[in-house]
């Protein structure tokens, strides 16, 4: 009994900080419809800022609370500034580009934080008055936990009053419920949006500041927190604050018991909860249906044309040059080229789903990772020949795609993005926690090609043949009846249905094809790197794939290939010559989104007024 009570209190205490961050995210989304990846960065900044302020201010309760509130206010201002400088230029851009831009902000903030506060984890000391513990049923519970337990409902009540008893709050609620009203606001709108960003970011900063005495401020808080906050928001229902609190409680309490009873399950647990909730209630506990995400906006309504004879010749020349490149390139360049070749297939597989399919996968690394682990395990544990092992990768990844795709074609917009992200996180934590099979954090090493393929030219030819074959298959599929049916289901689902097409089945099949080919890319990657690691499934890799596709342009067919080359070149060159590559990459992403919301190839195609891109 005492165990249950103590774990319960522990869970409720953790729920508060999670709720603060999630409520900020949900308020911002509700009004502006921006899914703000940088929200996790504000949480992290809140913790760092609180560290600085509390260590400058005099010790004691006053200094502590002053520091916490000061940090929250500063972060609120930073959020308002971000809205004012960047995001307001993107409200008309497709949802995905907003996401991409906020991800650029995440990268920039990571390096700025590193410069300002250094790489060490920073732990603040609690003021004396909050240090003790209280005896609850024979076990001690920290006083600070009790304070946190109170904070959640207090903030919930304050937000309720703000939204129901003030004119401004009424405006916010109206804006959340009625998009057209927001458009009609005109000048008021931009002030409202800035204010909403201030409030939302303040809540994230407060969450980070309050978490500081429990958990050291560290540089990887941002992505960890944003993932959890997304799950909470999605489980609670986008735009619903009460929903966010209930979801935070549900998840934090389950986590608390999970850690105590079966520690291995904790990373997965939250995502399992989310998958179950979304399967039963596709709009979350208290959410309402939302409009479908505008994947590429109007830029998708461009007719795609198959390659003309000129383009075909050009493609053949590129492949021939690539095939001969091992004769002239050095080892380092070959490593990079191999990587680009494999990632191009990965990006093409995501593009197939996102572009023609209009289905955005935020966790495409799941299929890449499953493919790579399938190959690694087949070679390591069964000693299968390389090519046989590689055949296993699309099978394994495709089977995951069958399961996930079934859910995905029933969801849309942000919910779809979050479910795919959740699946990737489940695969990632499985890779880390099932160490008997996957080698855990250390991964599986010594996954080398068969003897006949060890020579660098032969090996590259194998990689090139399989990757180019996969890309060719996807290209053919785009211009074949299947790709047309997929675009039909995206462009006008009612018409597709009325013509005898089942849009759900077509999208599901596309999901499976795309995940299978992502799996092939993962399998090749394992061979090229000589091993597999959980980072292959990490959220960063899913984002990389999105960046490659979006940099090149969703509405074009060659786009993802160019995007891959640009992306790998940027990342690689930058990390070789500077230690602030995240900062630069983030700035480049932001500038690119501002300058070419249709992607590089999309922009070039429009510039030439030639849809044959």
């Amino acid at each position: 009994m005492d165990f249950i009570v103590v774990q319960f209190l522990n869970g409720v205490a953790s729920a508060s900080s999670l709720f603060l961050v999630a409520s900020g995210l949900t308020v911002i989304f509700g009004v502006t419809r921006v899914v703000n990846f940088a929200h996790g960065s504000f949480y992290m900044l809140g913790a760092y800022m609180a560290y600085t302020l509390t260590s400058q201010l005099p010790r004691g309760s006053l200094g502590f609370w002053g520091g916490v509130i000061g940090a929250a206010l500063v972060i609120g201002l930073v959020g308002a500034l971000l809205e004012f400088v960047l995001l307001r230029r993107l409200y008309r851009a497709p949802e995905l580009f907003q996401l991409l831009a906020t991800f650029g902000v995440v990268l920039v903030v990571q390096d700025l934080t590193l410069w300002t506060w250094g790489p060490e984890d920073l732990l603040a000391s609690r003021p004396l008055s909050l240090r003790g513990a209280v005896d609850v049923m024979g076990r001690s519970v920290p006083v600070y936990d009790l304070v946190l337990i109170a904070v959640g409902p207090v903030v919930l009540a304050a937000l309720h009053l703000l939204f129901h008893k003030t004119r401004w709050g009424t405006l916010v609620r109206a804006a959340t419920q009625d998009r057209e009203m927001v458009e009609a606001l005109g000048v008021e709108q931009s002030r409202l949006f800035t204010a909403v960003f201030f409030l939302g970011s303040l809540l994230a900063g407060l969450g980070g500041a309050l978490q500081l005495p429990r958990e050291a401020a560290s540089l990887n808080m941002d992505l960890a927190q944003i993932t959890e906050a997304f799950v909470v928001v999605v489980v609670g229902g986008m735009g619903s604050i009460l929903g966010a609190y209930l979801a935070a409680l549900l998840i934090a309490i389950l986590q608390a018991f999970g850690i105590a009873i079966f520690p291995k399950i904790t990373l997965v647990l939250m995502f399992l909860v989310m998958a179950v909730v979304l399967a039963v209630r596709p709009y979350g506990l208290l959410g309402r249906p939302q409009a479908v995400a505008r994947v590429g906006g109007s830029s998708l309504a461009v007719a795609l044309r198959p390659a003309g004879s000129w383009s075909k010749t050009a493609a053949a020349v590129v492949v021939a040059v690539l095939a001969l490149s091992p004769l002239v390139l050095g080892d380092y360049s070959m490593t990079v080229l191999t990587e680009v070749t494999i990632l191009a297939l990965f990006a093409a597989s995501l593009h197939f789903l996102m572009g023609p399919g209009g289905v955005v996968s935020f966790g495409h690394a799941a299929y890449f990772g499953v493919g790579s682990y399938a190959v690694a395990m087949a070679i390591k544990y069964s000693g299968l020949p390389m090519l046989v092992a590689v055949v296993g990768s699309p099978v394994a990844a495709g089977m995951l795609g069958v399961a996930v795709g079934w859910f995905c074609v029933r969801l849309s917009g942000v919910y779809l993005a979050m479910l795919t992200l959740a699946v990737a996180q489940i695969v990632w934590s499985t890779a880390i926690q099932w160490d008997g099979l996957t080698g855990g954090d250390n991964g599986l090493l010594g996954i080398w090609p068969d003897d006949w393929a060890r020579g660098r030219w032969v090996f590259y030819l194998v990689i090139l043949t399989i990757s180019a074959g996969g890309i060719l298959l996807l290209r053919r599929a785009i211009f074949a009846p299947f790709g047309y049916a997929l675009r039909a289901a995206r462009d006008a689902p009612l018409r597709a249905e009325a013509s005898g097409i089942n849009p759900g089945i077509v999208q599901w099949a596309a999901f499976v094809l795309s995940s299978a080919l992502a799996g092939v890319a993962g399998g090749l990657f394992a061979l090229a790197k000589g091993g597999v690691f959980p980072t292959y499934v990490a959220i960063g890799r899913s984002i990389d794939a999105l960046l490659m596709v979006l940099l090149g342009g969703v509405a074009t067919v060659t786009g993802p290939l160019v995007g891959t080359a640009v992306f790998v070149a940027l990342q690689d060159e930058l990390s070789r010559f500077t230690n602030v590559w995240r900062f630069i990459l983030g700035c480049v992403i932001i500038l690119m989104v501002l300058a070419f919301p249709e992607g590089v190839v999309g922009f070039a195609a429009r510039w030439r007024r030639d849809p044959d891109a």
Partner: protein, 254 residues
């Protein structure tokens, strides 16, 4: 061809359609008219399978289609055009028709052959019939609205329908274009023995082309018969004008 019996549908408290019974014979051109909100689109959406009726029965060509999804209804040789034209904006005009032909033949899982090489002649013949052959290679996303409606007609015909459901086929078009489009649809249908059920606000269009008229008001059929009998019906006049002037003397509805 089409028999509807006791069809009903409510949205929350709103009884959009209640106890609607009628039939359409093979090759017959029938108009379903009524003021805004009368339940016409709701009827169409039930006939085509987009909405599941609360009660009632729909029989198409002798097969009970009640509750079937739109793609299964389409397989019973039912074509449909929408109140707001639904075309594939990322495809050319010809590809829109080709897609319909591919769908009709269930070839849409093909991964290798080019879709734009399939059924070219058939697609061009259909486009020729609706007068869109010259624009075959334009992107459907950039068409004038009236042209998109013509493409939609060609697409609906591609499935070889025996029954064509047209919800406000001329909405949003200029008056001259309206008459032309409906005349085109009617002549194509007569030539091939296709039955048409259409809704329309423009009474000139209705009385020129319909062989029979059904009048819907607040979810119920209040009159039906030849254009002449319906035009003279006092209940219809009351609904349309609140007066005794003959319907069609001015353009009713909106």
């Amino acid at each position: 061809m089409l028999e509807v019996e006791g069809l009903a549908k409510s949205f929350g408290g709103v009884r959009a359609v209640q106890g609607v019974t009628f039939s359409v014979a093979a090759g017959e051109i029938v108009a379903l008219i009524g003021p805004n909100g009368a339940g016409k689109s709701t009827c169409f959406n039930m006939l085509n399978g987009q909405l599941r009726p609360d009660s009632g029965r729909i029989v198409i060509s002798g097969r009970n289609s009640t509750g079937l999804p739109p793609r299964k209804v389409a397989r019973l040789a039912v074509g449909r055009t929408f109140q707001v034209a639904q075309t594939y904006g990322s495809m050319t005009v010809r590809e829109n028709v080709q897609m319909a032909l591919i769908a009709h033949r269930r070839e849409f899982f093909g991964l290798w052959r080019r879709a734009s090489d399939l059924h070219v002649e058939e697609a061009m013949a259909l486009l020729d019939r609706v007068g869109m052959a010259e624009q075959a290679d334009r992107s459907c996303g950039v068409l004038a609205y009236g042209d998109a409606k013509r493409v939609e007609l060609a697409v609906a015909l591609a499935g070889g329908p025996k029954l064509l459901l047209m919800d406000e086929p001329t909405a949003g078009m200029a008056p001259a274009e309206r008459t032309a489009l409906m005349a085109l649809a009617a002549s194509l249908a007569r030539a091939q023995g296709i039955a048409i059920l259409f809704t329309e606000h423009d009474m000139d269009v209705v009385f020129t082309h319909a062989e029979r008229v059904l009048v819907l008001d607040r979810g119920r059929i209040i009159a039906q018969g030849t254009p002449e009998t319906v035009r003279a019906d006092p209940a219809v006049r009351a609904v349309y004008l609140g007066s005794t002037a003959p319907v069609g003397a001015s353009h009713a509805g909106s």
